[in-house]
Subunit: 157 residues, 2 copies
Amino acid sequence: MEELFLKNAIGSWKQVIGRIDKGFLQLSDEEIQRQVAPGKNRLIYLLGHLTAVHDRMFSLLGIGERLHPELDEAYISNPDRTLPDPVAPADLKKFWSEVNRQLTEAFEKLTPAEWLQKHTAVSDEDFAKDPSRNRLSILLSRTNHAAFHTGQAVLVK
Amino acid sequence: MEELFLKNAIGSWKQVIGRIDKGFLQLSDEEIQRQVAPGKNRLIYLLGHLTAVHDRMFSLLGIGERLHPELDEAYISNPDRTLPDPVAPADLKKFWSEVNRQLTEAFEKLTPAEWLQKHTAVSDEDFAKDPSRNRLSILLSRTNHAAFHTGQAVLVK
């Protein structure tokens, strides 16, 4: 029964990632510079932001070393158009795909019991009080976060 | 173990709903008429759409009768500004809260095994081929859907 719960949760993650792949990976270097609405984030900022946030999941879940810490300054610590984009659009797309591919492989290796273990940003004390602060909660909240920004990206159409 | 998986999934739903409550329920009748970006959906359309889509979950999950089928024509079958809003903003806010309150109560009564039963829009044959087409998949996809539109609504700020 736990395996099926996990299949659903990872399936939900894959569905949201697949939608972003479809929307972003075929964009030209010009198209990816567009803002989702006047004065709002550019598409490349959203892709950089999502890549950096997902890359941080490796350490947050304790499943490996992150791949691209060089994205944080431009795409997490600062708002859009504060710093120059640290990498070319084609490279960012590769980073996005690689981060999610490796994450998803790692997700599929975790057992149900491992998904219910604490993530690395919660203390032993807090986790003892609230065992829902586990790895699974991170997967679900990051899936929602990606869906949230996808809703913005589609406004460009 | 299954109970904790469910607690996480329902917790993720509650978190997204709570964020929408916070953003929409205090809007004035004028504010809720604003478009999320020039030419895009109005906030009241998004709230009507989410209320109608969630209201449909009662029958989709087989957990009761829906409360407000009168919203579908304006907020699901047609794009924004095609039909007049069928109810006043204050009533729509009440409908939104009532639908989600009743849904969440019903969610909390379902057992883990019941969450893994098929939803009503999949045939027995298709469900036999793919048991992940269960009630839980609907909860996760509707949570993502609500997060998707939340990402659009916050652009108004």
